[in-house]
């Protein structure tokens, strides 16, 4: 198992993930991710998708992996990365089910997912994690190594291989239909006076 619960109640995740690992995570779980994760956003997905449609090999093997939707800011000299928070997930919704079908086990971003993505999470046993949008400076501390592995010409939108240690996130959508946004917002909605 790559998921263990620490004494502080937070679940420690070591990539890559199995179906059983994904199934053990529930919406609302706080997690710390350690290991390799990949970055990809709009432009990179735009290049991956035609490859998937044609059944061609992708520049990264997504099986068991997590993709973080982010385009980091440039690193200052001597630093690993600049600021690296999540971008809005919904723009990747078109592409996500196809990647989950190939064995991708998780995505990290912010914002609502489409019903098609939520259905694909159930079908292929995968998880949608949230990291805090706009907390890119804080999140940069958890990135220990960064390497561009594909589409370098895309600049910030290139695919990067990150080595992260204790990267903090929360489970937004699990593979059992759980949805943190729905539950959390319902609890605090108030009628007008």
């Amino acid at each position: 198992m790559s998921v263990t619960t620490a004494s502080d109640g937070i679940k420690d995740i070591h990539t890559p993930l199995t179906d059983a690992d994904a199934a053990s995570l529930k919406a609302g779980d706080r997690v710390r991710i350690t290991g390799v994760i990949y970055t990809a956003r709009d432009a990179a997905h735009g290049r991956l998708f035609p490859l998937i449609e044609k059944g061609e090999k992708l520049p990264i093997d997504v099986r068991g992996q997590i993709i973080y939707y982010t385009g980091p800011s440039p690193a200052r000299p001597g630093e690993v990365v600049g600021s690296i928070g999540p971008t809005t997930a919904s723009r990747m919704d078109t592409y996500t089910p196809a990647l989950l079908k190939l064995g991708l086990k998780g995505t990290i971003a912010k914002g609502y997912r489409s019903q098609a993505v939520k259905d694909a999470l159930k079908q292929h046993k995968a998880v949608y994690f949230g990291s805090i949008g706009g907390a890119g400076a804080v999140l940069s501390r958890f990135v220990k190594k960064l390497e561009v592995v594909a589409y370098e010409d895309l600049g910030t939108e290139a695919i990067r291989r990150l080595e992260v240690e204790g990267f903090p996130a929360i489970v937004l959508n699990d593979c059992h239909g759980g949805d943190l946004y729905q539950d959390g917002q319902k609890a605090y909605a108030r009628e007008d006076p």
Binding site: A43, T70, G71, P72, S73, P74, A75, R76, E79, G82, S83, I84, G85, T87, T88, A89, S90, K110, G111, Y112, G130, I132, G133, G134, A135, G136, A137, V138, S140, R141, L154, G155, T156, E157, I170, L180, Y181, D183, G184, Q185, K186, A187, Y188, A189, R190, E191, D192
Partner: protein
């Protein structure tokens, strides 16, 4: 006539771009503190605290508060007794943006065409609005506008019969539609009146008023407070995890309009509300 050289404009814009991205303005930091006092949700409180820490870390390391360092929206108030020397005003501003983003390790986030999507590499050009005003000063206001929240900005042409209730419903609908995608707690700029494009520009300009300051128009001030209360009853909360702090502020600007029209534009801004200004 007072001469202002373009090099002074470039230098000023360069500094504004870097400072805006590294140093969140005091009005935003105070908004975090106020919300930490009132937020009931534990998850919401935690998000607010992390964002405060994020602001401190960005300042200390001089790295951007958010990796989306935005497209630069620049409002210029050009005194009519100012004579710009050394080149073109727009070129000077864009030169400042290019220098600021390159030398400040800020992300290049502008595509040269909406279709071919090739990155311009230095975050130029800016979106520039110039107003000519009396006097011999040049005021430059910039906002580094993030894409996630901008994508949730909306426009609706209401009818005069829709009136204030229609405006309220529309603004609240916009907050709901923005949801977690736009990184709440949000700041909303609402432009009401004028024409199609005028209301949109007003909705951006409204965001430059310091957060927490009253609208100078007492009637609009009441409306803003009512809308903010309504928005914060939706339960969306910080990051949409559920809570009381869905918006930090709602700022309204109005303009006269045609007898047939009631245009309402809503610019959605995230908690990374980076705005700076300088007067030359």
């Amino acid at each position: 006539m007072r001469d202002i050289h373009t090099s002074a404009i470039t230098d000023a814009v360069k500094k504004l771009c870097m400072d805006a991205n590294w140093y969140l303005e005091p009005d935003m930091l105070q908004a975090f503190d106020r919300a930490l006092q009132t937020e009931r949700s534990a998850a919401g409180k935690q998000v607010l605290q992390i964002l405060k820490d994020n602001a401190a870390m960005a300042r200390e390391r001089r790295i951007p508060y958010c990796q989306d360092t935005g497209m630069v929206v620049c409002f210029v108030e050009l005194g009519q007794d100012v004579h710009i020397t050394g080149g073109a005003l727009y070129d000077a501003i864009n030169e400042g943006v290019g220098q600021g983003y390159t030398e400040g390790y800020l992300r290049a986030s502008v595509a040269r065409s909406p279709f071919d999507r090739v990155n311009t590499g230095n975050n130029t050009p800016a979106v520039i609005h110039v107003d000519v005003v009396p006097g011999a000063e040049l005021k430059i206001m910039i906002m580094t506008k993030g894409g996630g929240c901008e994508n949730r900005s909306k426009y609706k042409m209401l009818t005069p019969a829709d009136g204030i209730p229609g405006v309220k419903d529309w603004v609240i609908e916009c907050v709901k539609m923005a949801g977690p995608d736009a990184c709440p707690p949000l700041v909303l700029g609402v432009g009401i009146g004028g024409t199609f494009e005028k209301s949109a520009i007003l909705s951006k300009k409204a965001l430059f008023r310091p957060l927490g300051s009253p609208n100078p128009d007492p009637q609009l001030d009441v409306l803003e407070k009512e809308l903010l209360d309504k928005a914060n009853r939706l339960g969306i909360g910080p990051q949409g995890y559920g809570g009381d702090t869905t918006a930090f502020g709602i700022h309204i600007l109005t303009y006269p309009c045609h007898i047939t029209s009631l245009p309402v534009a809503v610019t959605i801004e995230c908690h990374a509300h980076r705005h700076k200004e300088v007067t030359l």
